[in-house]
Symmetry: C2
Subunit: 665 residues, 2 copies
């Protein structure tokens, strides 16, 4: 059984790797770009859509504002990129925003950032994969209505890929990312050429009439209009996520790590900004209509669109228009965009476990998260991320527009706190730095981070104001819960560690004066005899065999057999009025300890070890329960003396670790 | 947490009982009759229905045969009762048919009978509770369509009652059983009076036209007709179950156990036979129409009955007719009949765990089934029965007519084998008995059992022929699986017991020559120091501390701290290229054992014991995995040295036994 599990594990996640090979999993820039930048690049697949969709509420005229909204998003993006280039240089250890906030603003800010990032990693997976499912169902009509299922399957596959380790995923993901850049580049260049040559056709959705929602029948005017613009901007800021993924992933870069990471960051900022602006401009040029609720907002010749109308994502509509006359291009764009979205989710699969592991190391999360799995990947973190993302996808039925309302709150919390931390960092550095050349460099850096702090702070307020009731409250709630949880976990670890600390070294040298050994006997058979022999070999000061008397006949037989053996060990029978095993033994051991508290009581328990999990079902678990209860007794050592049954032959107990607890008697 | 579970357990199943009070749970006849006879008596609630329903397939004329079919059933019932009175006298120990078959026909026949009975106990619960749900939904229209859910809830409640112990259920169940007998008696007497006085009204369903199925448009003629009669008889034989429950329950009777059991048996046979015949005759007198599929078979003035028509069970229809003008009587009959059916299921809850416990004692089922729970009831068996019955109820959607096809095959297998065993028993006894008075008594008994064997054998063949394709194959399959399983379990126990048997007493005296102690160290803290002090107190020949080197910094710190302690114990660091803990330790211990196989290796593992289940989640389970793996290594003792954290204060480890395994690090 365990062999099959083991073989399946090897097949799915590969062979274990040695510590030394850890160095080889580092990424060159050409691989790091696709691995870490796919998040920011892929948001081009949904951020423009969300800008258009939000503006569409105010009708066709509002759509004209979309390039301007996009421009503001791009400006923020570039300033954030510039800010993070400072972070990457100052804090190359991969703690990213968490480390910056902890070091400069204290542990509370640190775990605040950490909870924000953890929640946003989950949302990155949920949003990207849901968007990918949308692209897939636009190209494959058979998928329509099954987006959530497809998304869940995709998350599961991604999880398996990531359990294999980061290097292989890096190589496997480089090619599609470059394909994506090439194909979107071709789309933009061809589109621009056809626009300027006057041959750019209209998009399919240009033929519809777009009607505004009732609240906006006057268009984008007044406070409501300004608020809608702000909301469109806030949704467009989804394009900024992924920047922090690189700052958390610096240790995965090849040396010089910081420089390579900073270069990659700049590269991705530029590419991303170009794509967003081009797509918004092309959308305007081709007359793309993109509604929040197409069935109520879109009409064709006065009739509402049919129930079967499916709104194709903006990039898909652009591909149809720009490459008109060459239908395969639409499918190629959809396929590659879907794929890049899956890779974006993969960014979170790289960042989340690293952060979880750091939090585990610092005692804010269970320490298991710090343990590397046997593929050098942080298996526990990967699995946690996958489960949380699947829950979100199922709850929100893989609807991108609903999920995006929860998104980016966390990122901007960490952006803002991180930039504030960087401000403090440079100020502190400047206090001790005498070299004027270095000082002026630091001052420039501080200025960049200062601007970044101001801007991200404003964006955070806009995001909170415009999205709170639309779902951001869920994110804040989750962040709050995580914050409290992490504080509680850390408190527990601190308390335990304080309790266990060796405060008095001399006390550690004090030895128990005498050893009182107790061998538990149920029957006279080989396991019992082995336990007895081992106990005698350890030469305790006192040695007795103890049995619990449940059935009178059994006791008589046991006593007779014991006497026949003629061993120099007395047999004591404990009374058990309730036919229990555990309680009388624990009571007896406690009474021995009470009588001579400075003695050590060693309880030898004969156990037989079986080779198959089903054999476990056939043997009483009383030994296991007894051991558990005895461990609560002070001054006691519980010694298991195993007897390996023939069915264990050839087994080392190492084959299927997870099954072991079930395999002992 | 465990406190709450414990309190809830006490509330639901009561306080634990001492062994001595076991005697007080014995039943006087007036309590034993309702406890053990309710199965047979309650079958009156569905056995006549099934006879009518089967005959209805051949149309209205066939219903006239119902009293004759009932008469044959009653004759078989009385002969089986006479036969079992012999069993109860000859084998009073409660092994019942299983014991009779094992003793006289060998272990294979014994476990054949046992598997038949186990399956039938499950079916008794499923059929009785489903029928009860049918009565309930006839009286409470709101229940219609939710019969399966109601049945499952009833099984769960019964399980809780039975986990409290047999005595209390006996007292609690006596009153409704006597009520049932009284009310059915009143029904019969009133019905007979009104019939002879010519004032008996027709039943509600008498107004319908009953049409035969296509295959029987000629009525009950030819082979098909004979077969249908046989099928009706086979279904009616459901009235015979419960007889064997008494023979398995003899030890629960007051002394003289056998005589009291035999008297109870005769009493119930007589009452049961009277009820069946009376009900079938009254059904005929009131013109009750009872169809297998009322919506296709029943018509009113040429129109099919409405979709809302619900067929009320025969006893309900009789109550409506006989007590016409007094509607409460219908509800009283339905309520009491539903209750008696629940009590019938309780018979199985009395019989199944006793049989399971005997099979556990004999090594045919897991030995845990032989362990009494703390309410003197065989908790494990009760829970197994409940789970199996719930599965059947859910799968067959609580439909009595479908479940009844699976029923009674098992009972007649055990009837037949048991009577054959009794034949052998008397023949063997006669071989050695010289006293002519006793001999003639034995011969009479042998004749009774001989007739019983012939008759039950014939009935078994009829049941198999008429029910096999209707569902009896499922029962046979389940019996076959149980048979093979029980044989396999016994083989396993035999093999283990042979392997563990003390074949060479002198070998048991040989002691390991030297003791090599290994203390596992992860950090220098109190638990480690305690483990070390205990290991030193045991004065091994060799003692070393061992740590696994996963992280270089940790190793350096540990080594420095160890040297600072200046202990007379060397520290050995094991290399761990794959960052594992278990494998290097197991490999090292194996190498120590390989070097000096006659030495004993004691591995001391410091563990900390936490007080709350959630604390468990925050601590690595590496100690548990390590212990599991070490147990596969020969010549090793695994000694757990517990350190009780402050959160365990006031806990004894005995509060919530089942949670213990999850509460250790």
């Amino acid at each position: 059984m365990s062999d099959i599990v083991d073989a399946a594990k090897r097949l799915l996640v590969g062979r274990p790797m040695r510590s030394e090979s850890l160095g080889h999993t580092l990424l060159p820039k050409r691989i790091a770009l696709p691995v870490f930048a796919s998040d920011a690049l892929s948001s081009v697949a949904y951020a423009p859509d969300e800008i258009l969709l939000t503006l569409s509420l105010a009708g066709i005229a509002a759509l004209a504002f979309s390039p301007w909204v996009g421009l503001v998003v791009v400006v923020v993006l570039l300033i954030v990129v510039a800010s993070y280039r400072q972070n990457v240089h100052a804090y190359p250890s991969g703690g990213g925003d968490y480390e910056v906030a902890t070091t400069n603003l204290g542990p509370s800010a640190g775990i605040g950032v950490a909870s924000a990032l953890l929640v946003d990693y989950v949302l990155t997976v949920a949003v990207s994969i849901s968007s990918a499912a949308q692209y897939a169902s636009a190209a494959i009509p058979g998928l329509r209505g099954h987006e959530a299922l497809a998304a869940v399957i995709a998350v599961v596959l991604l999880t398996l890929v990531n359990l294999r380790g980061v290097k292989e995923s890096g190589t496997a993901f480089a090619i599609p990312t470059y394909c994506y850049m090439a194909i979107i580049g071709a789309l933009i260049v061809t589109g621009a050429f056809r626009f300027f040559s006057g041959t750019l056709p209209q998009a399919q959705s240009a033929e519809f009439e777009l009607s505004a929602e009732a609240a906006f029948d006057q268009g984008l005017v007044g406070i409501a209009g300004a608020f809608l613009l702000a909301r469109a901007f806030a949704s467009g800021c989804a394009a900024l996520t992924g920047v922090e993924a690189i700052s958390n992933g610096v240790p995965a870069f090849r040396k010089p790590k910081s420089r390579n990471a900073a270069t990659t960051l700049l590269l991705l900022g530029t590419i991303s900004a170009t794509m967003i602006m081009s797509i918004l401009l092309l959308a305007q040029a081709t007359g793309v209509q993109f509604a929040e609720d197409p069935h109520s907002q879109l009409t064709l010749n006065g009739e509402p669109v049919s129930d079967h109308y499916v709104q194709i994502p903006v990039i898909g509509q652009l591909a149809e228009a720009v490459f008109s006359g060459f239908p395969p291009a639409f499918y190629a764009v959809s396929a590659v965009t879907g794929l890049i979205l899956v890779l974006a989710a993969n960014t979170a699969f790289n960042g989340f476990p690293v952060l979880g592991s750091i939090l585990g190391r610092d005692g804010y999360l269970p320490r298991q998260l710090h343990t590397r799995g046997d593929r050098l990947a942080f298996s526990n973190g990967i699995i946690t991320l996958a489960v949380a993302a699947i829950v979100l996808i199922v709850v929100f039925d893989a609807e991108v527009t609903r999920l995006i309302q929860l998104y980016i709150v966390g990122v901007f919390v960490s952006f803002t706190l991180s930039q504030l931390g960087m401000l403090r960092h440079w100020t502190r550095e400047l206090r001790t730095e005498p070299n004027p050349a270095v000082r002026s460099r630091y001052k420039r850096s501080r200025l960049v981070n200062g601007v970044g702090f101001g801007l991200t702070g404003i964006v955070l307020i806009i995001v909170l104001l415009t999205k709170f009731t639309h779902g951001a409250w869920i994110t804040l709630l989750a962040m709050g819960v995580l914050f409290v949880l992490m504080r509680g976990i850390r408190k527990h670890y601190d308390r335990v560690s304080q309790e266990l600390a060796l405060d008095d070294v001399s006390a550690a040298r004090a030895l128990p004066s005498r050893v009182h050994a107790v061998v538990l006997v149920s029957k006279v058979h080989k396991p019992t005899m082995r336990a007895l022999a081992y106990a005698r070999a350890a030469r305790p000061n006192e040695l007795e065999a103890v049995s619990v008397g449940v059935d009178r006949e059994d006791v008589e037989r046991l006593t007779a057999e014991w006497e026949a053996l003629d061993l120099p060990v007395p047999l004591r029978i404990l009374d058990s009025p309730f036919r229990e095993i555990t309680r009388p033994v624990v009571k007896y051991v406690r009474s021995v300890h009470r009588e001579s508290p400075r003695d050590l009581v060693i309880v030898y328990i004969p156990e037989y070890v079986v080779g198959h999990w089903w054999e476990q079902l056939l043997h009483n678990q009383s030994a296991l329960r007894l051991k558990g209860s005895l461990l609560f007794t002070p001054g006691v050592v519980v010694a298991s003396v195993p007897w390996q049954l023939a069915s264990t032959r050839g087994q080392t107990g190492l084959e299927g670790d997870t099954f072991l607890r079930g395999r002992r008697m």
